[in-house]
């Protein structure tokens, strides 16, 4: 799907220590929150990035199950799957049902107590790091996601032992990070007790200041993947001789009744219209970028000094100038598949309380060519002057807009209902559930909201203003006798009249239908609401079969 060969290795640690199970006021324990979070993200992952591998490991457990045989660490797995592997339907099902059997089979126990040198957190990190051993950090993205509600894991221990435990644990974390594994923390705090990062975890995950890792479920493009079991084979057959041969190297185009041959190199030479990859041509004010100048999803550009040091500096300078002057850059993007003009629009960083909404950089919008733009608005010109809304009508429309205002609309607030349904059904089938799940379609308009008296009143006012008073009746009247239906009615009337002029049964019996013209035959067909397509023979046989002969 992408150029990016990276996979995301993911490792979820779970911390079912005792307060973890204390019920939140919202009737969900932290454990449940963590589990549902894992379950949700796995469900997204199995759809979007099913080649990513994941392992789940609980720590501070009573039972132990891990390769190193470390105490207090339990690696959850299902049959036919390695500990770190792609998520399967079975794994998802196990996670969904783990809560009921958790206490019995795995159990929870606070592992780090004074007097013992056991360090469950250390063990968990070690186990996780061992799980993430496969694959090189250069091509893969390895992550440990750590869920916990204990901000001070070594709080109960005093003195040198505590210091020692902290030091070894931090070293373990640092080891992991040096191996290219990033550790992300998901602190779960009680309502009355803020999770205090500075006690321990800030050092562990290497946070500076008060930065919190943002949980961002990133999702890829839509892609329906279906595949046939087993390999497919393509064979090329010459249409003239029937001979089999290997992939043909040449293509052709019929032109002026001639076969014009092109070799693959020739075609790519034709498409190679520019030397560079992205060639700056100049700048234009943003008002030149029209709403219809769009063809494809945009691409995001961020500077890098990797190949050419100093690039970032220029990029930032141009970015600032473009934002300040309200201009965008026009460039030629010489991609081999479709070289085209692009607009580079500088995007300022947008940060809200929830984190970065828009990263800083430039968005590359693909511009259409003249050949791609159609002037359809001009297709139906009005003879003199097209009707325009009056000021009053515009005012009424404006009032409507104030009424039906989606205040905090965000482009990606809707999930694609078809896709949701698709995967819900797939999941149900894969997990062998009996009932098909109901998927909520978020894109349906808010009927209730629209039916509020205030909204209805504004709507009525707008309607009265643009449509006038007798709209309903006129429209209803018009619907019956629209131009097309009038015409159609007239045709069928004349047809049924003409139809009566013939003695069809007699004609059919004597085989004289053949002597009638197609026009005449169609009288019968139209009068009896039959299709009028096809050749004469088809029409005759249709008439005969209709007459039951």
């Amino acid at each position: 799907m992408d150029l990016d060969p990276d996979e995301v290795f993911r490792d979820d640690d779970d911390d079912p220590d005792n307060p973890f199970f204390q019920e939140d006021k919202k009737e969900e324990t932290h454990f449940q929150v963590a589990l549902s979070c894992i379950s949700q993200s796995l469900k997204t992952q199995i759809i979007n990035r099913s080649y990513d591998e994941v392992a789940i490991c609980f720590f501070n457990t009573r039972e132990k199950k891990n390769l190193q045989d470390l105490n207090g660490v339990f690696v959850l797995n299902v049959p036919e799957r390695e500990d770190l592997d792609r998520p399967t339907a079975r794994l998802l099902k196990t996670i969904d049902g783990i809560e009921e059997v958790f206490m019995k089979e795995i159990g929870s126990q606070y592992g780090i107590v004074s007097g013992s040198r056991e360090n469950a957190l250390y063990n968990a990190l070690w186990a996780a790091q061992a799980l993430l051993r496969k694959g090189s950090a250069k091509t893969l993205d390895k992550r440990i996601l750590l869920f916990t509600n204990e901000d001070d894991p070594f709080g109960s221990i005093k003195g040198a032992t505590k210091f020692d435990l902290i030091r070894t644990t931090l070293q373990r974390a640092k080891d992991a990070q040096d191996l290219g594994i990033s550790i992300e923390l998901f602190p779960l705090s009680c309502p009355n007790e803020q999770f205090n990062l500075s006690l321990f975890y800030a050092d562990l995950v290497g946070l500076e200041g008060g930065d919190l890792v943002q949980y961002l479920p990133s999702a890829g493009d839509r892609f329906f993947m279906f595949q046939y079991e087993g390999p497919t084979e393509r064979s090329f057959i010459c249409a003239d001789t029937g001979a089999l041969f290997l992939e043909p190297s040449k293509r052709f185009q019929l032109y002026k009744n001639q076969v014009i041959k092109f070799s693959g190199e020739e075609l790519s030479e034709i498409k190679r219209v520019s030397a560079g990859h992205l060639q700056l041509l100049g700048f234009k004010p943003l008002s030149c970028l029209k709403d219809y100048h769009n063809l494809r999803p945009s691409t995001f550009l961020y500077p890098s000094d990797e190949g050419m040091s100093g690039s970032t500096c220029i990029f930032i300078a141009l970015h600032r100038s473009m934002v300040k002057l309200n201009r965008f850059a026009v460039a030629f993007f010489g991609s081999p598949s479709r070289p085209q003009l692009v607009a580079l629009v500088a995007q300022d960083e947008i940060i809200t309380a929830a984190g970065q909404v828009e990263p800083p950089g430039m968005n590359m919008l693909y511009l259409p060519y003249a050949d791609d733009i159609r002037h359809v608005e001009e297709l139906h010109p009005n003879p003199d002057i097209a009707p325009r809304a009056t000021d009053d009508q515009v005012k009424k429309a404006a009032a409507l807009m104030k009424r039906i205002d989606l205040k905090d609309f965000s482009v990606c607030q809707f999930a694609n209902p078809a896709l949701q349904r698709h995967y819900a059904v797939l999941q149900a089938l894969a997990l062998e559930e009996d009932e098909m799940p109901e998927v909520n379609d978020e894109t349906v308009p808010d009927e209730e909201g629209m039916a509020r008296p205030g909204v209805v009143k504004t709507l009525e006012e707008f309607k009265l203003s643009v449509y006038g008073e007798n709209y309903e009746e006129e429209e209803a009247g018009k619907g019956k006798v629209s131009e097309v239906s009038k015409k159609r009615k007239a045709i069928s009337e004349t047809a049924s009249q003409k139809c009566k002029e013939y003695d069809w049964a007699d004609l059919a019996d004597n085989g004289k239908l053949k002597e009638l013209s197609v026009v005449e035959l169609k009288y019968y067909l139209t009068a009896h609401d039959l299709p009028v397509s096809g050749k004469k023979e088809a029409l005759i046989s249709r008439i005969l079969s209709h007459m039951g002969k």
């Binding site: 079991e229 052709f252 040091s309 500096c313 308009p445």
Partner: protein
């Protein structure tokens, strides 16, 4: 085919003032016919020239007048000859009268087709309209134009006028130009005509529609504001990518003597079972399967139909929102346009009211669309206003598809302000960038906007069709270099760049770019190479921007060597590095040589304390990293060589500090037992006495 049919008369000005641009006119017109030969083989084309020395048209024979208008080609179905004719348009000698030529062209269309083929007949006028038309015998020029426009409407003839102006135009009397503009504008107002001005050859190539495609609605029905009010609309595609033609695979198997060989290739797909790769699975045994993780879930079409997401044809308003909520880069696809049902005055007014209110309040509408009954999915999109500037054209709304939550990739990138100071532009640099952005202006005031998408042809397609024509005559012709006019699209305009040479030079000077020699160019690396043939002035811009898929990590500085200032810290840092196993051995050997140096260079033993400190650190590190052998060997080495120089005193000192071998107890890998470790220094005591 018939729906797309077009009957076209090209009305071309070949007067002296047009000579400079005629090569471009030849290109675009021959391209037009070339495309017709491919896509609309049955279209008819006629050619009328004006501004010629001669006069040759039917009207002059019938009624006289119409001087200097030549019918170069009567209406005929397109063929290869027509391409050749258009490639060599004869140059004229006089300044022609465009109205006469229009009438001649119109006459040709009416004589052959009368009132049939409504809306498919088209006149295409290319002129610079610099010279006045003749005074009519009766009435004013305006009246005359109006009468002609009415005739066009009556016969269903459309007209496109392309007026070439700007740098090509010679100095002409402004009054005449304005008068002509006014007259041509009457056409646009009174009949189905369009007029565009072009200033550059590039935009001339884009201004003439070379391929006619009959627009088809993708939806006709109600735009439901709510259940209370519905607006009748038609939805068309506004932009749609004209694709590179799909060429067929060529088969050379047919014998050369076979004149009727199609040379086509049939492609056959065979699906084989995974268990038995030799066995072909017939279609009836195949069933669709969808991936779910590593698993494939099979599902039959019938089953799928029963459970899949179902949709009802409808276009419903979800609400309005502030325009700034919808950022431009979220537009996903090609664009549609919502037009009020033609002829329905009320709908036109309603759409107009919405569009104008949106514009006034800077709002947009969010709609949910199902274009066809039972369509696979719904589309959520945004309606933005398109206020018409022409009297005859109704207001409309543009529609852009918005992404769903699943379609958005949320990646985080570091803020620019958080990047290292080295990457922050200085005030001076910022100023240079500002000037650069300001001066390289493609949309100067009072001039044509350069590279406006609406007038920019697709260079690849232009090149392909031209080459196709060349190849039809010479099958072995090589691909020619890109045409100069088309180069204006893919490369910076030399005029624009040379005009702003000083700005560019300043920009160039104030920023320093250095190629990073360590990194070889990877595929993902978008590094602009210096175009080999380009002159210096284009070298100003070499930004390497990476199309990034992941967060760029700012690497922390890593310790790679034990230094002199903080050897202990360096050692610890190196020992704890885990990105390569090499670091540990490097750290250990580094530390050893440090210790050796200290002992050797210490004349009076004052640096022994330091050496001991290092040795302790080394020992501890070796225990942690389970590398006892290295330490033990080192210690033995020290002991065995103490006689040399002043190692002797050092060893005594060591013994007194009780630094011994690493025993099994301390590190499982050690071969040294507890006793041996304890006895280590004892053993050497006698030796030292011997010395």
């Amino acid at each position: 085919m018939a729906r797309n049919r077009e009957i076209l008369v090209l009305v071309l000005d070949v007067g002296p003032s047009m000579h400079s641009i005629l090569p471009e006119v030849e290109k675009v017109c021959s391209m037009l016919v070339e495309k017709k030969l491919l896509y609309n083989k049955y279209d008819e084309v006629g050619i009328v020239l004006f501004g010629t020395e001669d006069t040759k048209n039917e009207l002059t024979e019938e009624v006289g007048g119409y001087q200097h208008v030549v019918v170069l080609q009567k209406m005929k179905v397109v063929d290869g000859d027509l391409v050749d004719v258009l490639k060599h348009i004869p140059r004229g000698t006089v300044s022609g009268d465009f109205l006469d030529a229009i009438i001649v062209g119109m006459d040709m269309l009416i004589k052959k087709f009368g009132e049939t083929e409504r809306g498919k007949k088209r006149l295409c006028l290319v002129t610079d309209a610099l010279f006045p038309i003749k005074e009519p015998y009766e009435g004013t020029k305006e009246d005359q134009v109006t009468t002609i426009a009415q005739q066009m409407t009556k016969h269903g003839i459309r007209m496109d006028s392309v007026v070439v102006r700007g740098r090509f135009g010679q100095d002409a009397i402004e009054k005449t130009m304005n008068e002509n503009d006014l007259l041509l504008n009457i056409f646009s107002r009174k009949t189905n005509a369009k007029m565009v001005y072009v200033e550059s050859p590039t935009s001339l190539l884009g201004a003439i529609r070379t391929r006619s495609i009959a627009p088809v609605t993708i939806f006709r029905g109600d735009l439901e504001i709510s259940s209370v009010i519905k607006i009748k609309v038609w939805v068309y595609k506004k932009t749609s990518e004209e694709k590179f033609p799909t060429l067929k695979r060529y088969s050379d198997k047919a014998p050369l003597t076979d004149k009727f060989a199609t040379h086509e290739v049939k492609v056959d797909y065979e699906y084989k079972s995974a268990e038995e790769p030799s066995k072909v699975v017939p279609p009836e045994l195949r069933i669709k399967g969808y991936r779910y993780g590593p698993q494939v879930v099979p599902i039959s079409t019938a089953e799928w139909d029963a459970v899949k997401f179902k949709t009802e044809k409808s276009v419903k308003l979800l609400g309005f929102t502030n325009a700034f909520h919808i950022m431009r880069h979220y537009y996903m696809k090609d664009v549609n346009v919502f037009i009020a049902e033609p002829g329905n005055k009320r709908s036109i007014v309603a759409v107009s009211a919405l569009a104008r209110a949106m514009k006034e309040m800077d709002k947009v509408a969010i709609v949910r669309c199902v274009w066809r009954q039972g369509q696979g999915s719904v589309v959520v999109g945004v309606l933005t206003p398109n206020i018409s500037e022409k009297d005859g054209i109704a207001d409309s709304l543009f529609f852009n598809v918005l992404p769903f939550a699943e379609d958005v990739r949320e990646f985080q990138f570091p803020s620019f302000s958080n990047l290292p100071a080295l990457m922050q532009p200085s005030e001076e640099q910022q100023e240079a960038a500002d000037d650069f952005v300001k001066m390289l202006d493609l949309a100067p005031d009072g001039r044509e906007e350069i590279l406006q998408p609406d007038f920019t042809p697709n260079p690849v397609l232009e090149r392909f069709y031209r080459h196709l024509e060349v190849k039809s005559k010479d099958p072995d012709a090589a691909v020619p270099p890109l045409d100069g006019t088309l180069q204006k699209i893919t490369e910076p305009d030399p005029d624009l760049f040379s005009q702003n040479q000083s700005v560019i030079n300043t920009f160039h000077k104030r920023f320093e770019l250095k190629e990073n020699p360590k990194l070889k160019k990877s595929r993902r690396h978008y590094l602009r190479e210096k175009a080999s043939g380009s002159s210096d002035k284009e070298d100003n811009e070499e930004i390497s921007a990476q199309i990034v898929e992941s967060v760029a990590n700012m690497p922390t500085v890593k310790v790679e060597k034990i230094g002199d200032t903080t050897p202990l810290e360096d050692f610890e840092a190196m020992m704890s590095r885990r990105d390569s196993p090499e670091w540990i051995s490097k750290a250990i050997s580094g530390m050893m040589s440090k210790i050796f140096d200290l002992i050797k260079n210490s004349s009076d033993g004052h640096s022994y304390t330091k050496a001991i400190e290092y040795l302790r650190a080394l020992r501890k590190g070796c225990i942690i990293e389970q590398e006892p052998k290295q330490f033990n060997d080192f210690l033995r080495h020290l002991r065995n060589f103490y006689p040399e120089k002043n190692l002797h005193t050092f060893c005594e000192f060591l013994a007194s500090q009780q630094i011994s071998l690493i025993s099994k107890e301390e590190a499982a890998d050690s071969e040294v037992g507890d006793d041996e470790a304890r006895r280590f220094w004892v053993k050497m005591e006698p030796k030292s006495e011997q010395v």
